[in-house]
């Protein structure tokens, strides 16, 4: 999967919960209060279902999830392992 496809999938997912037109790719979704407490687990389910990645204990680092860019990098890092 190329980076553009990953970006599109992330934006489409995040757009269900926040207005992605108004946020930068590096905006901290959690610190900005844009998402509610359920978003964290919705994000986990999205990453696992869409990319076949298992999010586990050692992945619990805010730097993996805090922004659209961070999510992208996390997926890219995990994808080779998954494949």
């Amino acid at each position: 999967m190329n980076p553009e496809e990953i970006t599109l999938k992330i934006k489409n997912f995040a757009g269900q919960y926040v207005n992605t037109d108004n946020i930068e790719a590096d905006t901290d979704l959690f610190a900005s209060g844009m998402v509610n407490s359920l978003f964290a687990m919705q994000l986990v389910l999205f990453v696992e279902k869409e990319f076949g990645i298992k999010v586990e204990n050692e992945d619990l680092d805010i730097d993996n999830f805090k922004s659209l860019d961070a999510i992208h990098l996390f997926i890219q890092r995990k994808l080779p392992v998954a494949s």
């Binding site: 269900q16 407490s37 619990l60």
Partner: protein
């Protein structure tokens, strides 16, 4: 979405309902009156593999899928909401350990949780902190040797009187963190809660932690992720179980009323002949069926691991618990004075149903997040994102 059960699922549902008929219903009223669940009843759940239903077979469980688990909760809700709450809290902790535990934690805790050697409790709510769980006051501080000292109190823990392992949310310098705390830990104690309206045999307790000593390896997940991920996983499991349990409670009330209205005579005919009774029965059946459908929808999404599972489960829990309260209320009404007596099970169902609207996220919290979700989806639709 396929709502038809296959032969295996029908067989499982039959087994669950048979167990409830034989072991739960005959004792439910007595348990309610005595405010306790006898150990042998919990042992019977363990023997059937119900306590370890969601634990993968590699850890000694049944590896049951989400739909079968829902059918089990539905059957249990039919017989006893209190016993349903045992399955609920036990499974919440199992799911949290399964999802966020380290390999060592899974190997240590899942086998005894599956066998029922350990009963798990879930500890989030405090005396002054309910829905605003992020502001939990229980704190944890680390000692030089890496161990943790927990300080605080938790309230309203189902089966807190008998559980021997608790999933507890505490703050580490403002970072919400989940801990696994054993009953025998130094500085840990429980205190029974009495005087409950419903869930009377759920053996509720308060937990007290006075510099409660917890090993370093008993953090579940990572500091800062205790609420969003660990507790989030548990609560989603809890809402799912409660939604199905409410569908079962509602079905119990419908069945009770179908029997009662057939036997009870007024004005020379069974009261089923009276149209105002028929109106209530029709609404009860329809609401009950609608609750089941939302549960099936959540089960389908659970199998797919779809992100919308969380919102759809919230809707199922919200609707099913409201339906349970309305149906149980109408069931009491249909039973008249008999419905106000503990000689008829609808009296207990009515008291228990109200609790369902409060636990695992009050219905007002569900309404807030469902409404926000609706507005967001509407915005997507207006931007041309299809018809979500």
């Amino acid at each position: 979405m396929d709502m038809e059960l296959n032969a295996d699922q029908i067989s499982a549902r039959q087994a669950f309902r048979q167990f409830v008929e034989q072991h739960v219903i005959p004792t439910a009223a007595k348990c309610d009156a005595l405010r306790e669940t006898p150990p042998e009843l919990i042992e019977s759940l363990a023997r059937e593999g119900y306590l370890g239903a969601l634990v993968p077979k590699e850890y000694g469980g049944e590896g049951m899928d989400g739909l079968k688990w829902g059918l089990l909760c539905e059957a249990m809700g039919y017989g006893s909401a209190s016993l349903l709450s045992l399955l609920t809290v036990h499974s919440m902790v199992i799911q949290a350990v399964l999802k966020w535990g380290t390999q060592a934690q899974r190997e240590k805790w899942l086998p005894p949780l599956a066998s029922g050697k350990i009963i798990a409790g879930f500890a989030l709510t405090e005396n002054k902190t309910g829905s605003d769980a992020k502001n939990t006051k229980t704190s944890a501080r680390q000692q030089d040797d890496g161990t943790w000292l927990l300080q605080g109190n938790k309230k309203w823990m189902s089966f807190g009187q008998v559980a021997s392992l608790f999933l507890i949310l505490a703050q580490i310098d403002g970072k919400a963190t989940a801990f696994l705390v054993e009953r025998g830990s130094r500085g840990f104690s429980t205190e029974p809660i009495t005087g409950m309206m419903g869930f009377r045999s759920a053996m509720l307790a308060q937990l007290h932690m006075d510099d409660c000593l917890v090993p370093a390896e008993n953090i579940l997940g990572r500091p800062g992720f205790g609420f969003s991920h660990v507790i989030g996983t548990a609560l989603d499991q809890g809402r799912y179980s409660i939604a199905w349990g409410c569908a079962g409670l509602a079905r119990a009330c419908v069945d009770a009323c179908l029997d009662y209205t057939d036997q009870r005579e007024q004005f020379g005919v069974p009261i089923r002949e009276h149209q105002l009774i028929q109106e209530m029965i029709a609404d009860m059946i329809t609401q009950s069926r609608a609750a089941q459908m939302l549960c099936f929808r959540a089960a389908s999404l659970k199998e797919q691991g779809d992100p919308s599972l969380i919102m759809e489960t919230s809707m199922a829990k919200y609707f099913a618990s409201r339906a349970a309260v309305k149906i149980a209320s109408d069931a009491v009404q249909i039973h008249g004075a008999n419905g106000c007596s503990n000689q008829f099970p609808v009296e207990r169902h009515f008291r228990d149903a109200k609790i369902m609207e409060i636990i695992e996220g009050s219905n007002q919290m569900q309404q807030i997040i469902i409404a926000r979700y609706g507005y967001q989806r509407h915005q997507i639709k207006k931007k041309g994102g299809g018809n979500p």
